[in-house]
């Protein structure tokens, strides 16, 4: 689960990580009040969306179509104002919040559809002498947590890794001891920090690790991590990824979930405990098991088709889940055929067949449905389908199913 920047900074603040003062606002008036309460004569208004590239993003309702295309193409310079605006007056804060709230921000990462901004973060401006980078993440190669830092703050870490890998320094954390003070000191030294900034960075690394563990994160990124001209070390931006498997013990964080950030069909699927990812193709897929679901997408492509989704009904799906899954797939107007691919292990094919029949009986079938049932009770499942009188196309193998699906889309 992803967090918004203002939520991430709240967590950091609680664990003693210095962040710039700021407040989240859902209305223009609240944004103005927040700026007034913060005081000073310089503020930053930041759109709260999960996607990156906010500063270079532009608003659908405001920007010209050509500028939006430039954003999507990753242009370095685009005219107009984006999802991060520097304001030198209260009136400026009002204008920035008004442009953002309720409007649709398009960034390189959101795609053309964009994301509606419901919250802005109003913060004070920062005094920036140096921009660094720090992140904690799960390192799959060592099965440990890795703290990494770079002298190239403000740049995407993938880009630094490609262009200047020597700027990235890593510390592998033993879970028995946690991050050692000495490891934090080593890292701060490698970044070339001294004096107050050195001590501030050491303290920040240790606090970041505490935050990471306490919040069950799987990724925590501070970019940029800023050193001020006074040597203060501050987390200017923060990205968290919370481990979905640990949400059961992170009740407060779970309550911060923003369903508006996710595809509506994906949110609905999750409510039925279905793993669903929307794709751009025309063949809807209903499969049991994540690996087989991916393989089904792959074989559709192999035979010249395009999958409309990834959908794993799980190992022990019941009739209602199958029905819900079919409902979600058929809601997508791009879907021209549906491929049901089940290899029954724990799951019985007759249960799947009953689910299909119930769903089709209720909602009808607007597009061809190709079913391939294999494994436990496959015979019985096929028999149920053929006796149902429904126009379901049965397939005898994975390849046969994919070919028939692609042919169905082509109208053959």
């Amino acid at each position: 689960m992803k967090l918004h920047e203002y939520q991430a900074k709240e967590l950091l603040r609680r664990h003693g990580v210095p962040v710039p003062p700021g407040e989240a606002a859902h209305t223009v008036e609240d944004a103005v009040k927040a700026a007034e309460a913060l005081g000073g004569n310089f503020w930053v208004v930041k759109a709260q969306v999960h996607a990156g590239g906010r500063g270079k993003g532009r608003f659908k309702e405001v920007a010209a179509a050509a500028d939006l295309e430039a954003v999507l193409a990753g242009a370095a310079e685009v005219p107009g104002k984006g999802g991060v605006q520097l304001c030198r007056s209260i009136e400026g804060v009002r204008e920035a919040a008004a442009m953002m709230l309720g409007n649709t921000l398009v960034t390189k990462q959101t795609g053309a559809a964009g994301v509606v901004v419901k919250t802005v973060l109003v913060t004070t401006g920062a005094d920036i002498a140096r921009e660094l980078y720090a992140a904690l993440l799960l390192d799959r190669q060592t099965s440990r947590i890795l703290l990494m830092a770079s002298t190239e703050g403000g740049t995407e870490i993938e880009e630094v890794a490609a262009v200047n890998p020597g700027a990235i320094h890593k510390v592998s954390i033993d879970p028995v001891t946690g991050l050692g003070d000495w490891q934090a000191r080593q890292l701060a030294a490698k970044l070339g920090l001294t004096g107050k900034a050195f001590n501030g960075a050491v303290k920040m690394f240790l606090s970041l690790y505490q935050t990471y563990m306490a919040t069950d994160s799987s990724m925590l990124e501070i970019n940029p991590l800023v050193v001020s001209s006074d040597g203060d070390v501050v987390a200017l931006d923060a990205k968290f990824m919370i481990d979905d498997n640990a949400l059961f013990r992170q009740k407060e964080i779970t309550s911060w979930y923003d369903a508006g950030e996710d595809d509506a069909a994906e949110v609905e699927a999750a409510s039925y405990n279905l793993n669903f990812v929307k794709l751009d193709g025309t063949i809807g897929c209903l499969v049991n098991g994540a690996g087989l679901a991916m393989a089904t997408m792959d074989i559709i492509k192999f035979y010249g088709g395009e999958p409309a989704n990834f959908l794993d009904v799980g190992g022990g799906a019941n009739k209602d889940q199958v029905k819900a899954a079919l409902g979600i797939i058929t809601k997508d107007p791009a879907v021209k055929a549906i491929l049901v691919n089940i290899f029954g292990g724990i799951m019985r094919c007759d249960v799947i067949a009953a689910g299909i029949i119930a769903a089709v009986a209720e909602t009808g079938l607007q597009v061809p449905l190709i079913a391939r049932l294999e494994g436990t009770n496959a015979e019985l499942g096929r028999k149920l389908l053929s006796e149902s009188g429904l126009a379901i196309i049965t397939a005898t193998s994975l390849a046969d199913a994919a070919e028939k699906s692609v042919a169905a889309v082509a109208g053959k």
């Binding site: 799960l138 993938e158 563990m213 069950d216 498997n245 098991g289 991916m294 997408m297 792959d298 390849a399």
Partner: protein
């Protein structure tokens, strides 16, 4: 002989009284696995189906049954603890079926297992089966056929698909290992390949990977230098978009890493016989066996 499990396997189930634990303990027993006991804290001294003793701790179970393998169905919040308990009790083969264990819990459990004389399979896996001898896990036993092909995979049903194709062609399996779909797992592709390479009863291997991480690349580097048996390879998720988790916690392309194309390139470099269509795993295996004079 096959690898890791055979007629000498003495299995216990941790979480034997839960619905999944009970169901699959029954199925494994019906397949012929020597199920010698179970563990459910607080239910020690009772019996599972009147004939399998239940203990409060794994240590007790080992003491009274000489168990050498365990199958874990303990719910996610407690599963990492169950893995460590099994290792501490001296269990040699720990198969963790549980899906959804917090990654930070697994970081600790993985660390705890270092230096201990045991092997973890999973978590979030279908388990391991030596057809005709023993099954530890949730896979349907009836699709398997005893034989000489090893299968290693991160996925459950996709493994069944591969097995189904092999069996349909009359190609039996020595052992099938589902290593699990999580980012942190015990036995990885490299170790599974090494086991099959060393097994005199395995002639060739089907290796099924998926997007995410770089375990397939590491296994291919190992295979290039060490593997003397043919490998058929498939990677699931060539059509998956980056940055999206595809069902499995570990199946995500992130930071430009974990792409199917990189894994296929590593396979190609290691001389693995690649199939781009998952429907071709069995047929390609047959061709390769014939070419190698093994069939």
């Amino acid at each position: 002989m096959a690898v890791l499990v055979d007629h000498n396997t003495r299995l216990i189930t941790q979480g034997i009284t839960g619905s999944s634990g009970a169901f699959h303990s029954r199925m494994c027993k019906a397949y012929g696995t020597n199920l010698v006991g179970g563990v459910t804290p607080g239910k020690g001294g009772t019996w599972f189906e009147g004939e399998v003793p239940i203990f409060n701790t794994v240590a007790e179970a080992v003491k009274y049954t000489a168990a050498n393998a365990t199958m874990i169905f303990v719910p996610p919040p407690y599963a990492a603890d169950a893995i460590m308990e099994a290792a501490d009790a001296g269990i040699k083969l720990i198969v963790c079926i549980t899906e959804g264990i917090p990654a930070n819990d697994m970081v600790k459990a993985w660390r705890y297992l270092q230096g201990k004389d045991c092997r973890l399979i999973g978590p979030n896996c279908p388990g391991i089966i030596t057809p005709g001898a023993a099954k530890i896990g949730i896979m349907p036993g009836h699709i398997h056929l005893p034989g000489r092909i090893g299968v290693v995979s991160r996925s459950g049903t996709l493994t069944y698909e591969a097995v189904g194709q092999l069996t349909a062609l009359g190609l039996g399996q020595s052992t099938c290992i589902g290593i699990g779909g999580d980012p942190i797992i015990g036995t990885n592709h490299t170790e599974a390949l090494r086991l099959f390479n060393d097994d005199p009863d395995t002639d060739a291997v089907i290796m099924i990977g998926e997007i995410g991480g770089s375990a397939e690349e590491a296994a291919c580097a190992w295979a290039k230098a060490n593997m003397s048996k043919p490998i058929i390879g498939f990677i699931a998720g060539a059509t998956a978009p980056p940055g999206r988790r595809m069902g499995h916690a570990g199946a995500i392309i992130s930071g430009g890493q974990g792409r199917a194309e990189d894994k296929y390139a590593a396979m190609s470099d290691a001389g693995v016989h690649i199939v781009r269509s998952p429907a071709e795993m069995g047929r390609r295996m047959k061709e390769v066996l014939i070419e190698a004079g093994l069939l």
